[in-house]
Amino acid sequence: MNRRYSAQIGRYLLVFALVVVAVAALYPLLFTVVSSLKTQTGFARDPLGLPSGITFDNYVEAFKRMNMPRLLLNSIITTVGGLVLSVLAAMLVAYTVTKLRFRGGKLVFLFIIVTLTIPSQAIIYPLYQTVLDLGMSGEYQGLILAYAAFGLPLGTYQLAGYFQQVPDELIEAARVDGAGHFTILFRLLAPIATPALAALAIFNFVWMWNDLLLPLVIMGGSDSKTLMVGVSLLSGQYDVSVPLVSAGLIVALLPVLIIYLVFQRQLISGALAGSGK
């Protein structure tokens, strides 16, 4: 009886702890949403409370100042390009290393994952120089290729781990049936690895969309700069009010938030599958 009672209390404490963390996780977002709906004077009068009246002027103004449609387009092109290229290249390496008789495969795999230890911050100037020498500074392909290269190590690692669990006999059977390498890779392995691929794609989408340093340096002040660069510039302008910045922030974070909420189930099952070791 006593034990059951304490278990009950434990349960309440547990839920209480979870609620506290959930509030901490959500409050900054709510604060920003609420701020973005206030007028400038409304925010000055009462920065913390709920707005007396709701205004969407800040969103209109943010769209105008930041040339939002163009920034959104730039972010979509570079993120999707980098994501597709990175996952494809990682898939090919993972297949070669785990499923082909390929001498030196281990060395290739090691080389790719070792590049994980080269952070973009450490090599940012020579990286910028290299992109400049390739004539890709301020161009979509420059950022796309850089994204692909930086997404490669983790992608290769995850997919190799996943492909490895597919029994070799399955591959051999398909090969005996006359299936070529690409058929095996895209018709047999890819469907099996869908959860891992989905999780990887979402992971890449999130960091590429959200990255600041690479687009800041590669795209700089060009018209091809991404949304995050635009947001960082907006917050640096001295005549910008908190409600206006907040509106810009909400627009910047909304696409990823939507993608996450839509693909939440795939992400979770992919994450579950990815660690199935």
Binding site: A89, F102, G105, I113, I124, Y157, Q264
Partner: protein, 319 residues
């Protein structure tokens, strides 16, 4: 790479003498090798062009003295010796060590939350979904957001004042110690969801009965956590530790950019921000590259274990 894993020999091969068989097989192996080489080429080209080449160029630039827009000249180890006398550089690496010292918090907090969610508390699906939301928000956006939250008269301090903790209502981003603390706390806010998700994935691979026995057993929560759950979760804990160890410094860049710009003084100056500042603000490329190489070595030393672990995992044959 033994013979037995070779594809089934074609029927024709069975009737021909051994020597040609070996030749066709060798020919097939050679063809498969070239095909494999072709497949890994794009990845190698990417890693080579955007990682290795810049790294090598960074090393060469670090031996040059090149300021402003003028020509550069060979400077030997000058840039490196200069670092040891530069209080800003020393402070940045000291701060980096302080940040790395918080790693246990990064590893334990998501673990505890994941275990709590995993106990299927009412609304656990909601919590699981909500905890991941901060991670989806761009760090630069998080930084600008928290500039307002942590402002001297922002909501955090308002809360502290209403609950009677007036002395704790600091100028969070303006104190020597509180600035670095705030920076790491914001970073943790931004990344803990990824950890929770990773741990939940790991927990899902452990049979429910095993965990249930551990959860319901009389032993206290913390004891159960460290004596039952952690040993079973070893691979996941290792993976997440690896990710944090190699990532924690890198994740901070956009937050520093938005929140403190390295200040006050050098309180939140970290190597990655200093590289950026030296190179693009002070236009001292040689020196910036040298600091960058030092950062690379620092990160590489921390993540040697991660790479070894990943290599073993990735090349291990399934049992």
């Amino acid at each position: 790479m033994s013979i037995s894993t070779a594809p089934a020999a074609e029927p024709a091969a069975a009737t021909t003498p051994p020597a040609p068989v070996r030749r066709t097989r060798r020919f097939r192996h050679a063809r498969e090798w070239w095909f494999g080489a072709l497949l890994v080429l794009p990845a190698l080209a990417l890693a080579f062009t955007f990682k290795l080449v810049p790294l090598v160029r960074g090393v060469t630039t670090s031996f040059e003295s090149s300021s402003g827009f003028g020509d550069s000249s060979f400077a030997g180890f000058d840039n490196y010796t200069r670092m040891f006398d530069d209080p800003m550089v020393l402070a940045s690496f000291r701060n980096a060590l302080l940040v790395v010292a918080t790693l246990p918090v990064w590893i334990v907090v998501p673990l505890v939350l994941a275990v709590l969610i995993h106990q299927r508390a009412p609304g656990w699906k909601f919590f699981r979904a909500v905890y991941f939301i901060p991670y989806t928000i761009a760090p630069i956006v998080v930084g600008i957001m928290f500039r307002q939250i942590l402002a001297p008269d922002g909501p955090i301090n308002a809360l502290l004042r209403t609950v009677g903790l007036e002395p704790l209502a600091l100028e969070w981003l303006n104190g020597r110690n509180s600035a670095l603390f705030s920076l790491v706390a914001v970073a943790l806010w931004s990344f803990f969801g990824l950890g929770v998700m990773t741990y939940l994935a790991g927990l899902a691979t452990i049979p429910d009965e095993v965990l249930e026995a551990a959860y319901l057993d009389g032993a206290g929560f913390w004891r159960r956590l460290f004596s039952v759950v952690v040993p079973m979760l070893r691979p996941t804990v290792a993976y997440w530790s690896v990710l944090c160890a190699s990532g924690v410094l890198i994740w901070l860049f956009p937050l520093i950019y938005a929140l403190t710009q390295g200040g006050p003084g050098d309180a939140t100056m970290l190597p990655e921000y200093l590289v950026f500042l030296t190179t693009f603000q002070f236009l001292d490329r040689g020196y910036g590259s040298a600091i960058g190489i030092a950062l690379f070595v620092f990160v590489a030393l921390i993540s040697v274990f991660s790479v070894r672990h990943m290599f073993k995992e990735g090349t291990r044959k399934p049992r």
